[in-house]
Symmetry: C2
Subunit: 113 residues, 2 copies
């Protein structure tokens, strides 16, 4: 396989990953559920700055369709709904941790502290 073909495959693979994780919010939503293991809708809304109720519902549905998260409804009064990562969703943990490390360094670089 030539270098060029190899590079094209790598770039396409990154593109495939971003197709699933696209949009401004998905990675932040996954990180919220990832760090807490299990998270309610209202908690995620609070964790992910600036996201609207409607947008969070849409993004959570897409993540469910892509089998990255699972929604559990508990028969409590009132009903409780929480989300957690599937086995497959947990394979993103490495990427999430890398992004967090990079984000911390980026903030230091920008703010100088």
């Amino acid at each position: 396989m030539t270098d060029d073909v190899c590079h094209k495959k790598e770039i396409m693979a990154v593109h495939d990953a971003m197709d699933v994780l696209n949009g401004k919010w998905k990675i932040s939503i996954i990180s919220s559920i990832c760090y807490y293991n299990k998270r309610r809708f209202s908690d995620i809304l609070n964790d992910v700055n600036g996201i609207s109720n409607k947008m969070l519902s849409k993004e959570l549905k897409e993540l469910e369709v892509n089998k990255l998260i699972v929604r559990t409804v508990l028969d409590t009064q009132p009903v409780t709904v929480h989300y957690n990562l599937t086995e497959y969703g947990l394979t993103l943990k490495g990427i999430i941790n890398n992004l967090a490390d990079w984000g911390k360094k980026h903030r230091k670089m920008i703010t100088g502290k």
Copy 2:
């Protein structure tokens, strides 16, 4: 630091990283330049499926402002312009490689081959 405060910091750090890398295209553009070390505008346009000329110009400018890439103009006939990652941009290589690995597994999971 309580668990909760620690989680909030991690989630904010992921959010910070995604603020810089946001949008559908930036990570794919960075991966194109990253794998080839140095890339011309027309090459990137070719590598990143579906991106328009106008969108690529805008995204490249934002990446330059964030000091992740640098633009070099060569005095050839016609003039050649190429992009490469800065030292700072190269700190994203780990994340790019992780995304490529994840993307390959995702494609296998979806297509079964």
